[in-house]
C-alpha cells in the first residue's frame, strides 16, 4: 500500500477545490490564489495557477469553466480504509460516538498489539469506563459547539469544587495517557483533568471573547551539553517537542536553548536530571538553583 502518493498531495487538493467552484461557474483567479495559499505550500500557487491557465493540466478552460460535470470526489483508498479499521480497534475509539461502517473484507493496517507505546505511565485515564466516556462526549460537544459547561471537579489534591467555564480544547498526553480540558472564562482553573470530573453539564453558549489561559513558551533554560554516551541525540529527541535553538560551541560541546511553559518547570527539572552530568544548565540562575537544590539534598542524604 503506497503511503506517499500524489492523490494525497496538496496540489491535488488545491485543484479539487478549484474545480468544485469551476463546476458551479464560480471560480475566479483570486479564488485560485487563496485556495493555493490555504491548501498548499508557500510557493505552490505559481506552479498550480500557471499549469491550469496554460492548460498544461486540461481541467480549466480559458473562461474559468471546466469540462467536468460534477464536483470532484474520490473514494477512500484501501490504505485509508485499513487505517480506519486499525484505529477502530483502539480502546480510545470508544470515546467517540461512532460506529464506522467499513466493508467486511477490509483488513486492519495493524492491530493494537502490533504497535506498542512504551515509556507510558501506568495510571492512564479509564477510556472504556462509561462515566468517563459520557464526560468526554459532553466536553467534545461543548468544544465543538462553543458551549459553556458546569462541572463538579475533584482535584489531584483532594479538593472538590463546582466550576463553570468555556471548554475550548481537549489536550491529550501520550506519556501520561490522559486527557485534560482547557477551559476559558473560569476563575479557578485553566485546565482540568478529565478523570477528575465527576459531573459535566452544558448550560448555555460560551462567551465569544472568553479569556483563554496562557500556555505560552515564554520561559527558557540554556543547557550546555557534552556529547558522550550519545547524549546529544538523546537530549535533542527528548526535548524535540519544545521550541528550541541549538548551536555547536566547540567539538563535542553544544549550547541548547529550550523554551517552555512555567507550569511545566518541575517536570523539566526532573527531565534534565535524567541526563546526568552530560548536561549543565547555565541559565537562568533560578533554574540552575532548582537543579542545585536537588543535588544538595542528595549529597546530604548520601547513597548507600
Amino acid at each position: 500500500m503506497e503511503l506517499f502518493h500524489e492523490i494525497y498531495g496538496v496540489y491535488y487538493k488545491s485543484v479539487s477545490e478549484m474545480l468544485s467552484l469551476a463546476v458551479k461557474g464560480e471560480l475566479t483567479e483570486k479564488d485560485m490564489k487563496s485556495i493555493c495559499d490555504s491548501c498548499a505550500f508557500t510557493d505552490s500557487h505559481i506552479e498550480i495557477i500557471s499549469a491550469l491557465k496554460s492548460q498544461r493540466w486540461k481541467l480549466i478552460r480559458s473562461d474559468m469553466t471546466t469540462p467536468l460535470k460534477h464536483e470532484p470526489t474520490v473514494p477512500l483508498t484501501a490504505l485509508e480504509l485499513s487505517w480506519l479499521k486499525a484505529i477502530s480497534l483502539d480502546k480510545r475509539m470508544k470515546l467517540f460516538d461512532i460506529d464506522i461502517a467499513l466493508p467486511d473484507d477490509i483488513e486492519p493496517l495493524f492491530l493494537p498489539e502490533d504497535y506498542v507505546v512504551f515509556e507510558q505511565y501506568k495510571d492512564g485515564d479509564p477510556f472504556e469506563d462509561e462515566h468517563y466516556i459520557t464526560i468526554f462526549r459532553t466536553l467534545l460537544k461543548a468544544v465543538r459547539e462553543h458551549k459553556k459547561v458546569t462541572v463538579e471537579y475533584n482535584s489531584n489534591k483532594g479538593t472538590h469544587r463546582r466550576i463553570t467555564g468555556d471548554p475550548y480544547e481537549l489536550e491529550y498526553s501520550e506519556k501520561d495517557d490522559k486527557f485534560r480540558v482547557k477551559i476559558a472564562d473560569c476563575r479557578f482553573a485553566d485546565v482540568l483533568n478529565l478523570a477528575g470530573i465527576e459531573k459535566c453539564d452544558i448550560i448555555g453558549s460560551a462567551r465569544p471573547s472568553a479569556q483563554k489561559g496562557q500556555f505560552s513558551s515564554e520561559e527558557y533554560f540554556i543547557a550546555e551539553l557534552t556529547d558522550e554516551r550519545n547524549a546529544l541525540e538523546r537530549f535533542m529527541l527528548h526535548f524535540s517537542h519544545f521550541r528550541k535553538e541549538a548551536s555547536e560551541i566547540s567539538d563535542n560541546h553544544y549550547r541548547i536553548k529550550i523554551f517552555y511553559d512555567k507550569s511545566d518547570e518541575t517536570e523539566l527539572v526532573i527531565r534534565v536530571l535524567s541526563f546526568g552530568q552530560f548536561i549543565k544548565i547555565t541559565e537562568p540562575q533560578s533554574f540552575v538553583e532548582l537543579i542545585r537544590g536537588r543535588l544538595i539534598m542528595q549529597k546530604k542524604l548520601g547513597i548507600r
Partner: protein, 412 residues
Amino acid sequence: MAYSELIKSFGRIRGYMKEFYIYGFKKRNEYTRRSSRSYDNERRRIESYFGDHMGYLRSKDGKNVFISVDTRSTHKNPIYKALKAKSFTDGDITLHFILFDILYSPEISLPISEITRIIDEDYMQSFKKPLTFDESTIRKKLREYAAMGLILCEKIGKQTYYRRPEDIPLSDEIRYVAEFFSEVSGCGAVGSYLLDRFPDETPVFSFKHHYINGALDSEILCELFCAIRQKCSVRIGFEPRHGKSEETADVLPLKIYSGAQNGRQYLFAYHLRWRRICSYRLEYINSVTVGKPSDIFDEQLERFSEMQKHMWGVSLGRSAQTEHVEFTVHIGENEEYIYKRLLREKRCGEVERIDEQTCKFSADIYDTAEIMPWIRTFICRIESLTFSNRTVENRLRQDIEEMYRLYDIGDE
C-alpha cells in the same frame, strides 16, 4: 533540471528534515552527503513545507537552518505536509479528475474503449490543444487506482468494466476521530489524508509531550505493518551505527515500539540468519522489501512476548541474561506522590513500601544501563543502589559525583 517543490521520493528529503528538526545546528558546508546545490534545493523545499516553523541562526562560521516546533501549540503535525509533496505528470492530474468525473457514481460501469471515447469527445475537445490519451495509458492509470482500492474492475464477457466502489459516508464524527488519531496512532499520516477530505475547521484537540518525528518514518512503518499482518519476512536496508555504509538484513517483523518520551520508533524482528530477535530504529531503515509469509511467526512472537516482561526500554541486552536492579528512595512528609510516581512510572518490576519513609523498587531486566536515566530523576531522594551489574552501579554513583562537581556542590 528546474527546481520544483514536489519530489519523486520521500527518502530524498527525510534525512535533511531529521537534521533540521532534531539537531538544527549544522551549517551548509557540514552537509557532505550530497552537493551544495542539492542542499540548497532540499532546504528550499523544506522551507516551503514548514513555513514559519523554519528558523535561522547566524554566527561567524555561517548560518544554520533549523525546524523548531512547539507541539503543544501546533495542532497538526507539520511533517505531514511534506508527505503531501509527491510529484506527478500533467497527464496524471488531468486523467485523475476526468476519470472520477466520468465514473462519478458506483452505478456507472464502463469498458476502457468507452472511457477513452468519452475523455476524447467530452473533455479534450473543449481545449485548443487537446491531450491524447491512448487506451493503454488509461488502462495503466485505472489498474494503478484498482490496486489502491479506488476503482473496481469487473470482467463481463470478454471485457473489463471499471467503476468506483461504494462510498463510505464521512460523518463529522469521523473528522474528530481522524483529527485525534492522526496525531497519536501509527501511520497517523493516513489520518491526516482523511482529514484533508473535510473543510478546514478550528481543531478541538491539542497534544502535550507530543513527538512528531515518527512521521518521517511513515512509509517504512506502513510497509512493516503490512508485513506483520501477513506474517511475512522482509529485507530491510538500514544505516548501521557509526556511519558505515548501508547494510541489509533479512528479518521477520514482529512488533513496532514507539517511545512516549522521545518519539523513537523501533522494529522488533527475528533475524533469519542470526536466529535471534533484534531491534532496529525505524529512522535508520531506508527500505523495506516484503518477502514471503513465514511459518515461524507465531513461535517467535510468543518468544518475544516472554522477553517483553524483562525489557525496561528496547534493549534486549547482550547475553539475554537478566540483571537485578534495586534502589530505595526516601519519602518525606507530604511526599506521598513520590510513592505514586514509582508505581505510575515503573515499566516492569515491583515497588515495595519498606516503611512510612522508604520505598524500594526492584526488577530483573536485560540492560541495567537503560534504567539509569529514570533513577536519576529521583536525585535528592535516592537512599541506596544495589545492582547485580556492579560496573553500571559504579558508573551511576560516579555520574552523580560528577554532577556535584559540575554544579559546585560542596558540603553545604
